[in-house]
Symmetry: none
Subunit: 237 residues, 2 copies
């Protein structure tokens, strides 16, 4: 199994072996994998080697550990954050990660000058606002604010506001997307964000603004602004 004379480090060889076993369902999701001691014996390697392997697998999101209990398979694919194009919800779901959306506030507001400009609207009119917090395993991951034209507001009892707004746009309202603009800036959290995300003042965030234009409307139909934990992509959930 492991070639000690190979130029490939033992931990890398061991990692490949474990990944293959996970992908082939020999090690099933949520089930326990052999203990460190067992792996040391089975593959004739030292504990540091086993732990290096496990550390890498944990960082990539394949496994998670329970102190005093053992090591378990998290999923068959490594974790990434959100893809370059698709939505956060979609890309997390595609990897078997369940996210929870908690609605903080919703309703019609009268935007101030700054918000009008941020939304790239040409004139002032009221709009519908939705604020949500995205959570994974009870841990807050992102804060999201969405804005729509009031005339296109999503009626609360007709649509599930805890689902992807994007899917509502495309599938339920049957709109055709004409253009998407997006700006991403890394920055430090505000006091409010520190509280809402339960983080310190030095944890880096990604601030993402997104404008979605649909057929038939000159101005952006949907403006989204959200902050997400910078290290979200390698969190081992």
């Amino acid at each position: 199994m492991i070639d000690k004379n190979s130029h490939t480090p033992l931990y890398a060889q061991l990692k490949d072996i474990i990944v293959k076993k996970i992908k082939s369902d020999l090690f099933k999701v949520k089930s326990q994998i052999p203990t460190e001691k067992e792996l040391m014996g089975e593959y004739r390697v030292g504990r540091a080697t086993v732990r290096k392997t496990m550390s890498m697998l944990e960082n990539e999101g394949y496994i998670y550990k329970k102190r005093g209990i053992g090591t378990f398979v998290a999923r068959k694919q490594p974790v990434v954050g959100f893809g370059p194009i698709i939505s956060l919800t979609a890309s997390l779901e595609a990897r078997g990660i369940e996210t929870e959306n908690v609605i903080i506030s919703k309703g019609i507001i009268v935007p101030d000058e700054k918000l009008i400009k941020d939304m790239k609207w040409k004139e002032k009119r009221s709009c519908y606002q939705l604020k949500r917090v995205r959570k994974i395993d009870e841990k807050p991951l992102a804060i999201e604010k969405s804005y729509f034209s009031e005339e296109f507001k999503i009626v609360d009892d007709r649509y599930d506001l805890t689902k992807s707004i994007a899917m509502v746009l495309l599938e339920d309202l049957r709109l055709t997307i004409k253009k998407v603009e997006q700006i991403i800036v890394p920055r430090l959290p505000t006091i409010e964000e520190q509280r809402e995300l339960n983080i310190g003042n030095e944890t880096l965030l990604l601030e993402i603004e997104r404008w979605i234009y649909v057929e038939g409307f000159e101005e952006p139909y949907y403006y989204l602004k959200f902050v997400i934990l910078g290290e979200a992509y390698n969190l081992a959930f």
Copy 2:
């Protein structure tokens, strides 16, 4: 400095110390920090502890190592998760999809007025262009054109141009990303694209333009324009 009776692990204490020294400019960016042996002596800890500390600092993007030379300060702030956002390669690889990059053309060009505008440059100067086709299982998936300032061109024999340019930016050139802008427009292919991607004239493409700004430069450092098969992604924003 380090309290061996504390409940905080030694590697965590050491990490805090190093981070503070980096942030306070005691360890300056790009300068070498003490060797592992020196840190072992100065803080009276074992090598595994030093290496655990350094490994965490490296993962967070604070430091980088040069084999046989030493360890250096990369930046004063940790790196955030831009990889999956700006690198198609990274996000596909994370799903276990292996892609192949074929270089179509490369070299220095003199941009015309339109390209200058597209790149968001303020004045005319020559630039380095790289055109690649991304393939999965021999099937063309995307056509990609990258543009850099000529002065920052990636020297062919130093970097692997079939890899993710974004990762070269972040990891090899050790640049800090300040902002990413992106525009996505769904559209039908041109005749040329139909030929290059081997598709019909009704296959939907996504045209993606991306500007990456890095610390120290006002204008975009990197301009990318690519088209990708629409079916490659679910348009679920």
